[in-house]
Symmetry: D2
Subunit: 120 residues, 4 copies
């Protein structure tokens, strides 16, 4: 999406070199390319949370509030799943291609993150 | 929180009579008394969601974003649990005391809400 | 639990009198009436778990095993929900009718149990 | 899956050559090496489910049964997580190394399986 990315033919897109001239190497991650979509999703979730505040403020019936909480949680988990998919596709697959011990660390890290999602 | 509530010493707080003179009976629900606490919680969650947007915007590492998603989901579920507890204590218990068929409807409704929370 | 309760033909069915003649008062809970259905459900889940063992033993593809795990977890949660519904309908409603402090304890206990289900 | 892989002492252990002499290539998956551990875990879960049947049969208090359901669900999810970790380490990483379109399919498949686990 950015010129930088188009210039570098990095097939996995896991990291791109910083060409901004500020002397830093910027690691950008798998979700980089869907950034706009992610931000849109998160703004929608923010709107849902504000909707919940309005509902509490207006004394809406508890069960209706709970239904809205379920919808927000579902939206958050759907966001998490998409992020995770991109992470697996880029960061984890990248580590696999590189070889060495990094793949084990990456897989363990991803599994722990999935475990945290499951336990909520 | 409202003068109405302070006036009526309803111990269960499940419903209070409207004394506002507009001729309506206002049903206020179990969570009414914890309204401020609920709003504070929800504003904190809103802050977490905005934090997520910042993280995505600043290309923070995917796994760290997922950890924050887990924290937000946990906070939402914790809010839901508190709401549910008040609902059981007031609305469901109230229906039980009243007797009749309403308790069955209330319990079924609450169980379905719990099912929706579980499935997210 | 009390003799009083056994004497009254409690409409909620929360407790039944012991007619086994062994001189003990048996407390039976809300799920009593669906006992057979519960046992049937649990035996089906047991079968699913044995199916998982067969799948592992026969080197079935990981993803197919995970699908079966999801089905078993869903079946367990569905069983939990039904148990919870009966618990709310009988034990919790019963405590509400009795009045006093017990309803608070019962609701807190039920909420904690729901919290444990949510966190798995 | 390919002869090449069987020849190389693949550190990932994703596939092993069939030495049974039946002329078939057996694909064995990531979880192969932990087979005994998996079976032991599943037998323990099976024991928990049988324990639940006993509890229902002996009219144990609903909340105690729900606690045991939570423990069983947690054990199932823990099994799923371990299986998933091995799947990512072997099958997904394997597809990444091979290159081509397979990695996308594998990642999508794994993400869907995680989604199913999350939604239970």
């Amino acid at each position: 999406m950015t010129t930088t990315e188009a210039d570098v033919p990095a097939p996995s897109g896991a990291t791109v070199q910083d060409t901004s001239g500020d002397g830093h190497e910027h690691a950008t991650y798998g979700y980089h390319q869907q950034k706009d979509e992610h931000l849109k999703r998160l703004r929608r979730i923010e709107g849902q949370i504000r909707g919940l505040q309005r509902m509490v403020d207006e004394d809406v019936y508890c069960i209706d509030i709970l239904t809205q909480v379920s919808a927000s949680t579902k939206a958050l988990q759907s966001f998490a799943l998409q992020l995770l998919e991109e992470h697996l596709r880029h960061c984890v697959a990248d580590a696999a291609v590189k070889g060495g011990a990094e793949i084990d660390a990456k897989v363990e890290e991803a599994t722990k993150a999935i475990g945290r999602l499951l336990r909520t």
